[in-house]
Symmetry: none
Subunit: 155 residues, 2 copies
DNA sequence: AAATCTTTGACCTTTACTGACCTTATTATA
DNA sequence: TATAATAAGGTCAGTAAAGGTCAAAGATTT
């Protein structure tokens, strides 16, 4: 395993973990040089590993003194639970949002890593695809996600 | 007589026996080259010899630096192991049998109480009833139960 | 002969990585 | 003070490197 992208991801996450602030600033060219790759490789890592879906926020500035700033996922608010539960009932349950939420719940130590993985596996379309219509999949995922969340909350 | 599939099976099991970890990683193309066969022959071996029913677990990643990971057979001492897993994919998955199974697994301390509850909640028909046909429910439950069980087995 | 098991190959999907070309901001200079 | 040079970062399409699927052909067993 361990692709270049994985190495860069790990490096950035370590930086984030150690940073006294809620973000880190990096230079794209410098980082690319450090890992002996083209600069756009850094964008690939940011797109695939530090996406909004995964709870990260990335902003940047071009030109001289340019930089890339990566924010760590922000702490869960009570409001976030509310939003998730609201989306469970109306039709627009989004598994990616749910996965993002799960990740945060895990990072805040509400659930174990294994529980997070268990719950996340319910959000993958592949299990449903051959058996139910696409529009039904979201509703089912919502129902099941609700069921397991309730188990956690009751505990 | 030893078929090619048998040889590959034996080779992989020897690797597993010797591995210091709970799994081995292989490259499909490399292995196929070693045994002078097409890559899909490897999938055949994995499907027929390293199935869940036989206690094995296989996961993989595509793309550059992809791999196939084979986990050692589960140490769970449950006699109807094979039957449970056989029933996961074809239509006759029985949630009650699965619930018993879960209980055993819990008693053997493979999973926590909360994990058991999480998994058990997937076995309840109520979540599915309004959305899918009765015959489909069993199949879905089977698929999802398989998915979460795999998470446990990998851990 | 029929059934079952093995092997193959054509075609598909996913993931990683690169490079050419583009946009934006700062800095130096005419 | 315009403006040119420089110094960032962004985009996107293309390529390569894996592994997956499925049906058909071939071999073996019953």
């Amino acid at each position: 395993m361990a692709t270049l992208a994985d190495l860069i991801e790990g490096y950035l996450k370590r930086l984030l973990a150690v940073s006294p602030r809620r973000y880190i600033d990096i230079q794209r060219r410098e980082l690319a040089a450090k890992f002996n790759c083209v600069p756009s490789q850094i964008n690939y890592v940011l797109d695939t590993r530090f996406s909004l879906e995964r709870g990260y926020l990335v902003e940047s500035k071009r030109g001289g003194r340019g930089y890339i700033r990566i924010y760590r996922p922000s702490p869960l608010k009570i409001d976030d639970w509310g939003k998730i539960f609201a989306s469970l009932d109306d039709g627009d349950f989004d598994p990616r949002v749910a996965a993002d939420f799960l990740n945060r719940v895990y990072e805040e130590k509400f659930i174990s890593r294994r529980e997070a993985k268990l719950m996340e596996s319910l959000l993958r379309d592949e299990h449903y695809l051959s058996l139910v219509e696409p529009e039904i999949i979201r509703r089912l995922q919502g129902k099941l996600f609700e069921a397991v969340l309730k188990v956690i909350l009751k505990d």
